[in-house]
């Protein structure tokens, strides 16, 4: 089709995703409560909406699939078919396919070529299986749907009894026609003058908005004869072709499909239309529309923003006034006021960017269901704190790590039911997914009540892989063993399963979490369970940082990774095998000379040294800095693609005076 749909694409993708999520939730519930009619009705309603949306956007393949899904759901709803695991599975399959479709659309701005015949056939088979009659009915209805619905049939039937004629008029506009909508309007008006329009294809609104190619068809009821209509319409210019087909429903409504004339006509025109649109697709150059990241925002939050901005304007005028009078006191007052507004404004903007973590969590019930089936384990997923809000950019990053962790829990953690009974645990394993805010962080916990981490197994595996020697392994602390788990390529699974064991697990989780300046901790107890604790910052855009000076350059260190600041004497530093360390609070911590690392010229030795102690997980390091400037809220700006590989830097920020200060990547210093 010729319509420019790109502007609706965002909305389409966003809404479809929401609906799909809805379907997912309902299906999961439906599986547990197969008899629930409300759920069936709901899922039917949602897929119907989806179908409509896909149809409007011209995504025919998707619309067809949802249509057949709807048929099955209709059969379920009316009780012709029972909800059984097979049905649920196929519905899930459809859901997955739709999900892929929507993702493809969001990435490419157009639909896949895939026609989903496999799934459509499966759906049809399920229907056929039960009742041949129904399925035929359904598929026939499908063909006819494009042109005649029940309402239209009723009207036509009624008209027939009143001695009126009904026609379908197919009109093709001249392809040079400039104002298609206006031309169509003329046609509509003319037809309306002598008949009653009962249906148009596409709908009248779409025609009005020019959402059609060159052809449209109108179904009318009139007392005019065919040639009379032809004569009326022939006055209108810019029309290529008019075809008037009488609709004959001499037989009863129920078997309207058997009426050969209309039926053949309908399917033919349907096919024609399809071809038409396909040709168009090929003709028009493939537009590559990319969908941006979007956030749905509560209108209250936007109102709040608006209010703050208007206050900002007020304060601006106030400052203008005072600057004329040059009254210091009122200036200070205005600045204070300004400060208050910027703080609230910052807060409000942050809130706009916040999304409930539910968006990540809601795909897990389904995943756990599929996985536990696959692994022959019984697992119950308990989720709490889905309403916890995190920054939109964070949301996109934590999905994969969480999937890894949950898969891990299911595969490595939770035992098989027999084993669990032997250990005196309940047959059904539990995985708890918990999110809660904690100061400027959000904590996400993945906890299972499985067998816990087997330290000796981890050790022997590590020795086997040559990660460490046997002698070294003897002296490892618990923490160090856990650290091994996060080493690249490490897996304790004895056999490689579909789920895990490829050794691409935990190291990826850690690096991903650390890339968004978060941290991962593990708590484990044999036969009681394992708990992964992920800590991520509320937002990535604005952080609290300590500004420090190296010579005359200013650098920022994220406050979240600083544990303390201390001052030492140069003689406190000891050199052990080339590594400088200090003894601090009875712990030895390595020293990092930032000026060397940052390539600062003319380093001068001082006696009194300021050390910023930073931590990564439970490891610490002391950074030597020249001077402390102070704590400040900074806005993180990326260094850009060109410099993204530069070591030790996490980004840059713009200081109050417009100069740029670089942000240290503390994690990379270890």
């Amino acid at each position: 089709m010729d319509i420019d749909i790109s502007q609706y694409l965002d909305a389409f993708v966003e809404e479809s995703k929401e609906y799909l999520q809805n379907i997912n939730d309902i299906l999961l519930n439906l599986e547990k409560d197969t008899g629930n009619k409300d759920l069936l009705n709901e899922v039917f309603r949602v897929s119907h909406t989806l179908k409509g949306m896909a149809g409007t956007m011209g995504f025919t393949n998707m619309a067809n699939l949802t249509h057949d899904m709807e048929d099955l759901l209709q059969a379920l709803r009316s009780g012709e078919k029972e909800v059984n695991p097979e049905v649920i599975d196929i519905l899930f399959e459809c859901f997955d396919r739709l999900d892929t479709c929507v993702n493809y659309i969001s990435e490419n701005g157009k639909e896949t070529e895939e026609e989903h015949t496999d799934l459509i056939n499966k759906l049809k088979n399920i229907l056929n299986d039960n009742n041949v009659e129904i399925s035929k009915d359904e598929s026939d209805k499908h063909e006819n749907k494009e042109t005649l619905n029940e309402y239209v049939l009723n009207v036509i039937k009624k008209a027939k009894t009143e001695g009126l004629n009904s026609y379908r008029i197919d009109i093709s506009l001249n392809k040079d026609c400039m104002l298609k909508a206006a031309r169509a309007f003329v046609v509509f008006n003319t037809i309306e003058s002598f008949s009653e329009i009962i249906q148009s294809q596409p709908s009248a609104e779409d025609i009005e908005d020019e959402k059609f190619d060159l052809d449209f068809s109108i179904t009318i009821v009139t007392k005019y004869k065919k040639d009379e209509i032809e004569k009326e319409l022939s006055h209108i210019s810019e029309i290529d072709k008019i075809e008037i087909v009488p609709i004959d429903i001499s037989s009863s409504i129920s078997d309207i499909e058997k009426e050969p004339d209309t039926n053949i006509k309908n399917t033919e025109s349907g096919a024609e239309q399809k071809n038409d649109s396909k040709d168009h697709k090929n003709n028009s150059p493939a537009k590559n529309i990319k969908i941006g990241k979007t956030v749905r925002v509560d209108i209250d939050r936007l109102d709040n923003l608006m209010n703050l901005v208007s206050e900002l304007i007020i304060v601006k005028t106030r400052m203008e006034d005072t600057s004329e009078q040059s009254n210091k006191e009122s200036m200070n007052e205005a600045i204070e006021y300004l400060e208050r507004i910027t703080t609230s404004l910052h807060d409000a903007v942050m809130k706009v960017r916040m999304v409930p973590i539910e968006r990540v969590f809601n795909r897990f019930p389904r995943m756990v269901r599929d996985l536990s089936k696959e692994l022959n384990k019984e697992v119950n997923l308990e989720m709490t704190g889905e309403e916890t809000e995190v920054d939109r950019t964070v949301i996109d990053e934590i999905g994969d790590p969480l999937i890894h962790l949950i898969r891990n829990s299911l595969d490595h953690g939770i035992e098989h039911p027999e084993e669990r009974v032997k250990l005196g645990k309940s047959e059904v394993g539990t995985v708890k997914l918990k999110a809660y805010p904690d100061g400027n962080n959000v904590v996400i916990e993945v906890e299972d009540d499985g067998k816990g981490i087997n330290f000796s197994k981890v050790k022997s595996k590590a020795i086997e892989k040559g990660v460490l020697t046997e002698v070294k392994a003897e002296n490892l602390s618990k923490e160090e063993i856990i650290d091994l788990l996060f080493a690249p390529g490490f897996s304790t699974a004895d056999t490689i399963s579909d789920v895990s064991g490829r050794g691409v697990g935990l190291d990826v989780v850690r690096s991903k979490i650390e890339s968004i300046s978060g941290s991962v901790e593990v708590e484990t107890q044999e036969n009681i369970g394992t708990k992964f604790i992920i800590r991520i910052p509320l937002t990535l855009a604005i952080i609290q940082a300590l500004l420090i000076k190296l010579k005359n350059e200013i650098y920022a260190i994220p406050l979240s990774s600083i544990s303390e600041i201390t001052s030492i004497h140069s003689t406190d530093i000891r050199d052990i095998h080339g590594q400088e360390i200090i003894l601090y609070r009875n712990k030895t911590i390595p020293i990092v000379r930032l000026d060397k690392l940052m390539d600062v010229k003319e380093i001068e030795g001082k006696d009194e040294i300021t050390v910023v102690v930073v931590r990564k997980g439970d490891r610490q390091a002391g950074l030597i800095v020249d001077e402390l400037i102070g704590q400040q809220e900074i806005v993180i700006k990326p260094l850009g693609k060109y410099l993204c590989n530069v070591r030790y830097l996490a980004g840059a920020t713009i200081l109050g005076n417009g100069r740029i200060s670089l942000i240290l990547d503390v994690n990379s210093l270890f």
């Binding site: 260094l639 850009g640 070591r647 713009i654 100069r659 740029i660």
Partner: protein, 145 residues
């Protein structure tokens, strides 16, 4: 219309030679301003500047092309270019004009690759008496040497 833009080049000078960058890739031309050194970056990266709230790396084009390094002066300019989402500022000796050079007037670059600069040459444009070296920005910015 598009062919017009394709043939338009922003002309700048390095040493005694004239160079050209396709105008499509040029976002703006700025005066030299304070920059912040980026440690551990390639040596030809002078640092980053704050361009209306955006952090943009700047490159000393003389060093990148293997010419003798010269201190920036009043004539020096930063040409902000963008190629494939990469935004970089190039320090040049001076920038004067925008020229239209038809495709017929562009010769293929010399085949030899004996010096650094010649790797990044897309062609040699002729404008009356001058020869203008047309730079292949993509090669210049993406191949890191």
């Amino acid at each position: 219309m598009t062919s017009d833009i394709e043939n338009k080049y922003v002309i700048f000078k390095l040493e005694n030679e004239f160079y050209g960058i396709n105008i499509e890739n040029v976002r703006s031309i700025e005066r030299i301003q304070n920059y912040t050194r980026v440690p551990n970056a390639p040596s030809y990266v002078r640092g980053v500047i704050n361009l209306r709230g955006e952090v943009i790396p700047i490159i000393d084009l003389r060093e990148k092309l293997g010419l003798t390094i010269k201190e920036v002066d009043n004539n020096s300019r930063i040409i902000i270019v963008s190629v494939n989402e990469l935004i970089v500022g190039l320090i040049v000796d001076s920038s004067s004009e925008v020229l239209e050079i038809n495709k017929e007037k562009v010769d293929r670059p010399p085949a030899s690759e004996e010096n650094e600069a010649e790797k990044y040459i897309k062609g040699i444009g002729k404008d009356e008496k001058r020869l203008i070296i047309l730079i292949d920005l993509e090669k210049l910015l993406i191949t890191k040497a």
